[in-house]
């Protein structure tokens, strides 16, 4: 072990508390719930690194996927009037976060990932999601977030936010249902789209109960973007092949069902670091800004305990 190496000491078992605290922190404007309005403060232009609908009454930040679709859907109109708005702020924000920690926000602070983990705790028979389905999130990103908002436009050159409109269950949970409950004036507008989104949400909830974080793995376009940075981010995971016994304990505990010893910086990894603490051979470590944290080899007894 090098001079910079330290035994793992972070309380990963408290990850759920971080997830809950961040979910509440970015949705902290509670007075909106009583007024039936959404928070309109000036800080709401700040993107959050998670899927969190900005139409949630108490949301205090902007969903980067919603903001990105808005940028693409207005790009052709902006170009037609020589307006310099290309979505650089959102793209730069996502790239900067990804360059630092990769997909770590998915594992530690995403409210929608947290909801999926909670629902998966409901005791039912569980189903492993086929691995090929994880490629579907790139299709969602390329079509619903980029291509369709950019290509299908009205007579003024404006497109639509296709992912928000047709798929996003986070929007339905955080904004669709609460706002319809709070705002009587919106109820007459309910139609096919609303029932479509409610039906889709019910299907997703069933999937969350049966499989581990299926939305993150198969659908989430934000996870798809951050995942592209996993192999090149400042934060990195590593596996010591000499210590690894291929016991698959990390695979059993992994919330996204990956074999970390095959690809320590897989685009699917949400970097919850559960594998680091579950490996009793101390084979998995992570590195950030030159400091490497290694899991303690639990087979080796410390002098104090002997």
């Amino acid at each position: 072990m090098g001079a910079k190496d330290k035994a793992v000491r972070k309380p990963r078992e408290k990850r759920a508390w971080y997830q809950a605290a961040f979910a509440l922190g970015i949705n902290a404007w509670l007075p909106s719930w009583f007024k039936g309005e959404i928070f309109q403060g000036g800080v709401k232009g700040v993107c959050v690194p998670v899927l969190n609908c900005y139409s949630c009454p108490s949301a205090m930040g902007a969903c980067p996927i919603g903001a990105m679709q808005t940028a693409f859907s207005g790009l052709r109109f902006n170009l037609s009037i020589a307006e310099k708005k290309f979505g650089l702020y959102v793209a730069g924000f996502l790239g900067a976060v990804g360059s630092i920690v990769g997909r770590m926000p998915c594992g530690w602070v995403c409210p929608f990932g947290f909801i999926q983990e909670l629902l998966h705790k409901i005791p039912t028979p569980k189903v492993r999601m086929p691995r090929f389905m994880s490629y579907f999130r790139y299709v969602v990103l390329a079509t619903m977030v980029v291509a369709l908002p950019l290509l299908i436009v009205d007579e003024f050159g404006y497109g639509q936010t296709w992912f928000c409109k047709w798929i996003c269950p986070a929007g339905t949970i955080e904004a669709g249902i609460p706002l319809i409950l709070l705002r009587v004036d919106l109820r007459p507008l309910i139609g096919f789209m609303y029932y479509w989104k409610i039906g889709l949400l019910v299907l997703f909830i069933g999937w969350f109960i049966l499989s581990r974080r299926p939305f993150c793995r198969a659908v989430c376009p934000l996870g798809a973007i951050f995942g592209l940075f996993n192999k090149s981010s400042l934060f990195r995971l590593a596996v010591d092949v000499e210590k690894c016994t291929l016991c698959d304990k990390c695979y059993e505990d992994c919330p996204v069902e990956i074999k970390i010893y095959e690809s320590p910086n897989s685009p699917d990894c949400v970097r919850c670091l559960k594998c680091v603490s579950s490996c009793k051979f101390g084979a998995i470590s992570y590195e950030f800004l030159g400091k490497r944290e290694v899991a303690r080899d639990l087979r080796v007894k410390s002098p104090a305990s002997s």
Binding site: A91, S99, I198, L234
Partner: protein
């Protein structure tokens, strides 16, 4: 090179983000974020 790549990417993306801010994109995001997104609700 592998150790430098994250720093290069971070610098590039921070530059892109700052360029977006200079073009006034923060205001665009804010304007969208402070209005009820009917698409997100499913009635747009």
């Amino acid at each position: 090179m592998r150790r430098k790549l994250p720093w290069v990417l971070l610098t590039v993306f921070l530059g892109i983000m700052v360029a977006g801010l200079l073009f006034g994109e923060y205001k665009t995001v804010l304007e969208k974020a402070v209005t009820v997104c009917l698409d997100c609700i499913g009635i747009g």
